[in-house]
């Protein structure tokens, strides 16, 4: 009986034990599931923080590059005829100049950062650049009085090919080549040597007037037609941006002064060049207005009648007629001749012991 009882008891106990053991298993499993879920949530949270930090660091890096470029470009805007190289981590830069309702806006963007607007800088550059080194060169844009400092941006893999024009006795190619720094890759080549560069995608072909007719089909090129005025390449003239595959001859655009001509050469497209030159003409108007105000004040304050008269003639003939001038060939022709006139008047005023014009 005792045995039966003990057997019975042990069966009861076993059942109880099994039940409790199952409960324990459930509890342990539940704990593990709970820990797994909580661990997973914490893990995701930490991963999230790491990724957000990574993206912040990338943003910071692009902002730093962007700031570095802005600072350097703005620094360059203060000094003319300076060649420099800007090194930074490899990045893609996009320059954009667009005209919206007669106003033109210039901006640039580095991959991953916001677009930066540069309202006072006039920069001629390819539309898209992917590089770790920018080559920057500056030239003063003066039309009598100083207007702005133009910056030209290029990279070491862009080649400027100037077609030799010694056969036409103009030697513009040589003159242009001598005025571009040697660190900017450029060569004066004969037309027959153009085929050596056929595979190079980063070439810019520049030719002069009649010489351009012989350029083989399939090349984009910039055709420069200097004016016959004083036979000076850097006075003023016309520029045509020819695109291969276009049957229609594009409308030429004017250029003025050395800084303007170089602007066309360093620009990728006709529209970009026109946009930047239109901005430069807006800056011209601001500087012209300042010069006019200054000369009126000097005219009122000076007791020297000779100076008064000379300044008055300058105001009437050389300053006031050029108010709100538009960038076109007729105006550019007149503006260039006015520049020469202003320089002569300035020297004349100095010789007469009068205050200078600028």
């Amino acid at each position: 009986m005792k045995n039966i009882r003990s057997i019975h008891f042990s069966k009861e106990n076993k059942n109880k034990f099994d039940k409790k053991n199952k409960k324990g298993v459930i509890e342990v499993q539940f704990n593990w599931i709970f820990i797994l879920i909580a661990g997973f949530v914490i893990f995701i949270f930490i991963i999230g923080i790491i990724f957000s930090q990574k993206s912040n660091a990338e943003k910071q890096s692009t902002i730093q590059i962007s700031n570095q470029i802005i600072t350097l470009l703005k620094g360059k805007q203060q000094t003319a005829d300076v060649y420099s190289e800007i090194n930074f981590p490899h990045a893609s830069i996009n320059f954009r100049c667009e005209m919206i309702e007669n106003a033109s806006y210039f901006s640039f963007k580095i991959d991953g950062s916001d677009r930066v607007v540069l309202p006072t800088e006039v920069i001629f550059a390819p539309k898209d650049i992917t590089t770790d080194k920018l080559i920057v060169w500056t030239q003063a844009f003066n039309l009598g009085f100083p207007i702005n400092i133009f910056s030209y941006i290029t990279t070491s893999d862009i080649i400027i090919l100037i077609i030799n024009d010694s056969n036409t006795d103009t030697y513009y190619a040589k003159e242009l080549s001598e005025n571009i720094p040697s660190n900017i890759t450029h060569h004066v080549i004969d037309m027959t040597d153009l085929n050596n560069y056929v595979s190079n995608k980063n070439k810019k072909v520049v030719c002069f007037a009649d010489n351009c007719n012989n350029i083989p089909i399939g090349y984009d090129y910039i055709e420069i037609t200097p004016s016959s005025y004083q036979s000076d390449l850097f006075s003023y003239g016309n520029i045509t941006f020819r695109k291969s595959g276009l049957s229609v001859t594009p409308e030429p655009l004017p250029y003025i002064a050395k800084a303007g001509l170089l602007g066309a050469i360093f620009s990728d497209t006709k529209d970009y060049y026109y946009c930047q030159m239109s901005r430069a003409m807006n800056h011209y108007e601001i500087k012209r207005d300042l010069t006019e105000r200054r000369l009126v004040m000097i005219q009122n304050d000076t007791s020297n009648n000779n100076c008064k008269q000379k300044i008055n003639i300058t105001l009437v003939q050389n300053i006031k007629p050029y108010e709100n001038i538009i960038f076109n060939y007729i105006n550019i022709t007149s503006l260039y001749k006015n520049t020469i006139d202003l320089d002569i008047r300035n020297s004349d005023l100095t010789l007469s012991s009068c205050p200078k014009l600028y």
Partner: protein, 173 residues
């Protein structure tokens, strides 16, 4: 029955322990994030204040170098030189109510600042010309930098001495 309740309680305690550990870990993480945020915010504030100072220095360096202001002389002087009539013309154009274009153009150079040129010598002709004023009023602090300059009057053919005072405004945080 007592044994069952006791065992159930033990199970609950085990679960409670796990929850408590997780809550503590989350609290520690949270405190860590708050602490790290505070540190990074103070870093940002430092960087901001540095950049304000730099931008005022930058403006102060730009002013006497502008061709619209500086004397037309080939010689290099230790002290910067500005043309009195260029200064007057520029001040008139920037502060003219009818000419917003000039103000906007120079706003790109001078940003949120006030630029004043004062002549201190000779004392018989002391003047004070406000070249540019961004006119920020509310919540602004300012940093001040002054640069000595020669002021040339090409009509009287005299040179005076003065200061360019650049007051850089920034929104106080």
């Amino acid at each position: 029955m007592n044994t069952n309740t006791h065992r159930l309680n033990r199970g609950q305690v085990q679960l409670g322990e796990s929850i408590a550990v997780i809550i503590i870990v989350i609290i520690l993480l949270f405190l860590g994030i708050v602490f790290w945020n505070k540190i990074s915010n103070s870093n940002v504030a430092d960087i901001q204040s540095q950049s304000h100072e730099l931008s005022v220095i930058e403006i102060a360096n730009i002013v006497p170098e502008l061709s619209e202001l500086k004397c037309n002389e080939l010689s290099v002087n230790r002290v910067k030189c500005i043309d009195f009539y260029k200064l007057k013309a520029m001040s008139e154009a920037i502060n003219s109510s009818s000419d917003a274009i000039t103000f906007e153009y120079y706003h790109n150079y001078f940003k949120n600042s006030k630029i004043t040129v004062i002549q201190v010598y000779p004392q018989t002709s002391i003047f004070n010309i406000t070249l540019y004023d961004a006119k920020l009023k509310n919540n602004t602090k300012s940093l001040l930098i002054s640069l000595p300059v020669n002021i040339k009057n090409y009509v009287n053919k005299t040179t005076a001495y003065g200061f360019i005072i650049v007051e850089g405004y920034y929104i106080s945080s």
